[in-house]
Symmetry: C2
Subunit: 324 residues, 2 copies
Amino acid sequence: MSVDGHIIAGGAGFIAQTLIRRLLLAGDSVLVIDNLSRGQEVFLKDFINSDRFDFKVADCSDESAVEVAIKSVRSPETFNRIWHLAANSDIPAGIANPGIDLKDTFLTTFALLKLAKARNIANFHFASSSAIYGDLGDRAVDEDIGPLRPISNYGAMKLASEAQIRAAVESFLPRADIFRFPNVIGVPATHGVIVDFVRKLKSTPDQLVVLGNGTQRKPYLHADDLVDAMIFIANTARDPFNVFNIGPRDQGVTVQFIAEAVRDRVAPHCEIVYGEGDRGWVGDVPRFKYSTDRIAALGWTPRLGSREAVVRAVDEVARQEGFG
Amino acid sequence: MSVDGHIIAGGAGFIAQTLIRRLLLAGDSVLVIDNLSRGQEVFLKDFINSDRFDFKVADCSDESAVEVAIKSVRSPETFNRIWHLAANSDIPAGIANPGIDLKDTFLTTFALLKLAKARNIANFHFASSSAIYGDLGDRAVDEDIGPLRPISNYGAMKLASEAQIRAAVESFLPRADIFRFPNVIGVPATHGVIVDFVRKLKSTPDQLVVLGNGTQRKPYLHADDLVDAMIFIANTARDPFNVFNIGPRDQGVTVQFIAEAVRDRVAPHCEIVYGEGDRGWVGDVPRFKYSTDRIAALGWTPRLGSREAVVRAVDEVARQEGFG
């Protein structure tokens, strides 16, 4: 993807940091647009001195604000790819107030598609989620499975975004990739089970209280592997509309495994106290068999399985939170 | 469904007229809310004198306007069902300007779900569409099929609405029905292939120019059958979240069949001139095998097949347009 110009919507977030590093290393130009509602400018500190990097504060659901941001950079006409990573990643917040998911997760998609049309940007790469599937029980979840029954507003607005992108491909957009993310871990960690556990132990080192009974099993992917897969798909897939599950090849690890990994790294003598039930919160899916056969057939496999990814991320997050 | 109170969003439209008639006959109360962007007040003239009927002009995507409308009727606390029929039914208009489908088809769903939550309205009945499926080729389309790849913004925003409703059922809504409509015909006709053909022949009686080559085959259902199915599902289905294809048991009729039925009824000596290709417009699906096994298993079958529905609707539309 050399000599590409990338707009990264939601580019001050966790996953974007790894993506930006890769794209700049490849010699490309990057414009990050982020409203800093959850993203943090400090995540961009390594890039800010690059003359191929720009950062503009704008709300990606506001098409005209995004247009102003684009026009303010040196060569706005060179952008040929939009990476849409903007979303409300706080699922319980979106259940309490669906307007958050509407604006941050769906209306961003809507505005960015209008931008792609207005600027003839041919490639749209979208961070979707396994949350679009809902609770499919013990079925192996491949990309073509039905029915799709998201149980959170977050998942609903990711599915809504996919639908709008699909329709855009039919009418004007030459190329779209849909990346269905699993649980992604790594640093800079801002939310999710690992950072929750580490921070709990930071304030109460003797006890780790876990929501649910710890038997929830989910696949985890490290952000480095995720970004590697995204770039691989962007370079390799050939259809106008490509949908890929991205995840480890295994069936994941339990919450108990994660709790114990955090305990072992951070507070070896703490007691782990489990709750009841196999769901941590409304909108949470207790188990998930994620099929990654399609991306494997395209030629990509992750370097880390769920166990290795968790152990590495626990160490990274512990360092981030001051456990040297 | 006796002693029910119904809010019908988009109630001044084509299908609502038949639904309102049925609900009032059953002794229920009905409040129609419509912004009259496509609905017509004249469609409500038979009901306006009933003391169990109210009509308020408000935009269903504007939650506070809807709330004002509800508060202005005699017993606003008696409503226990929302029928969401509000949508942009003009598919090409939505492809030219996706903002129309966003506001009229999706943001209406969003606002009406907030209303259901705020008012503890337990039943949400949603007019979805076969357009959520996209072009699945020769596969039989049942309710659980995947992948869902809508090719119009209309279909995308119907799918987005379904997703948001599904998430609402997970978090607060006791009951939702998703009705996936096929092509629905009957009167008062405002759009669609039959009224298009009749009006063309009204202005140029010698020639009927057809978009596409006439081989597109789709299932058609008469509005009377559709509304009968909707009420049947509302009374009979028992899950918190019910999804039903509604349609005839056959595989439909071709555009050619419809063109000839209109010719025979309206202008027997006209010439029919076909275009090229099997799609009439961007976002149109050329053929469709619609499975209605689920609703048949629930105990409902339509009175009219596609052929009978078309012949009857052609006669009704011809009368509506002045062909006595």
